[in-house]
Amino acid sequence: MVPAVFAVATAPDAGFDAIPMDEDNHPPSLEDLDARLRKARGKAHPANAAEGDDVPVGGWGSAMRVGLELVSGLAVGVGIGWLLDEWLGTRPWLMVVFFFLGAGAGMLNVYRSVSNLGYGVGYGGARSGDDTGDAEKEKEDDKP
């Protein structure tokens, strides 16, 4: 866990790499600052980097995350089933159905978080942006 934290703390930052520390005492000139500002502004339009920037967790952390995902999916499923049962008076059938759906959702969330598909609903997290865009377009074309 600790190395991950330090990796975060010392992540290369846009503006801090070029700041001179105490080795020379005169403040940086305004032209220098201007150049650095322009460089930083150039960096302000990167390609979206959702991948690779995952939450840094150690073994214990990811184990806890997996357990949490599994249980919360199940809990939400059962909760929805219970509420629907209360509303429709079909106790206990919807709760049974949603128990299994919730278990499925929990396992799906675990699968997503373990295989780094991202946290999103759908499987698009693993694809590139253009790919899913085409898929969505195709789906829209399919609709009458």
Binding site: P28, N48, M64, A105, Y119
Partner: protein, 240 residues
């Protein structure tokens, strides 16, 4: 020996009955106010001089600003800039709540599920609203994974919806469980010190280590909450 869960007790400081509702000002409210005040003080006093070459406080304020700005830029993209003030506020509030909770005798606001769930719910509802406003009805195609045969939809769509609804639950539970478990553990080991008498040196050593771990957890959980908010926001803006 003090009970390990006593520290989470809500105590009413000022009783405010609001037409049947209990809107009392409690120790939890007090520590939320303290957190907000501390963040405000930290940032405004830190940035008061606005020196070209920052001093210590200005450096810290700029560092936290830049840290979150970097996070938003990397995980949401350029469109995420509009939501930066909210994400920065969220990060600073959680970080300061966690850190202030580590001061002895202080109350940890984030160790209550209702506080973290309220935060997560604001994020969840906000992100869902942004997605619906931006993509209108196409938002609901989010729940149908691309490339899946249509006859699988009755099974997959409810699972995807439940998986989506589980987001605020995991988001809030993660922060709450980490904070509560850590503080309970500290208190349990603190109880051993009194019981063991002279041999209490050993639990004191453990507590010093645990305390260091708790500082890491406090920062890490604020970071995790923020980065998950960023990822959800990215999902909402791009819908994959």
């Amino acid at each position: 020996m003090a009970k390990p869960l006593e520290q989470f007790e809500i105590k009413t400081l000022v009783d405010i009955p609001l037409g049947g509702l209990d809107a009392s000002f409690t120790n939890a409210s007090a520590f939320m106010v303290i957190s907000v005040a501390a963040v405000t003080l930290f940032l405004t006093v830190g940035m008061r001089r606005r020196a070209l070459v920052p001093g210590r406080w200005q450096s810290m304020a700029e560092l936290s600003y830049q840290f979150v700005a970097h996070l938003v830029r990397e995980n949401v993209g350029t469109e995420g800039r509009r939501y930066f003030p909210f994400i920065f506020t969220l990060f600073m509030f959680i970080l300061f709540s966690n850190m202030i909770g580590l001061i002895p005798y202080a109350f940890t606001v984030t160790s209550h599920i209702i506080v973290t769930f309220a935060l997560a719910l604001v994020v969840f509802l906000g992100v869902t609203l942004i997605a619906i406003i931006k993509h209108r009805l196409r938002f609901f195609s989010f729940f149908m994974p691309p490339g899946v045969p249509l006859y699988m939809a009755p099974l997959l769509v409810p699972i995807e919806i439940i998986s989506y609804l589980a987001r605020p639950v995991t988001l809030s539970l993660r922060l709450f469980a980490n904070m509560m478990a850590g503080h309970t553990m500290l208190k349990v080991f603190a109880g051993f010190i009194v019981v063991l008498g002279l041999g209490g040196i050993a639990p004191i050593a453990v507590i010093v280590l645990l305390y260091g771990l708790e500082v890491i957890v406090a920062v890490l959980q604020a970071y995790v909450f923020t980065i998950l908010t960023c990822l959800y926001l990215h999902d909402a803006l791009h819908l994959h």
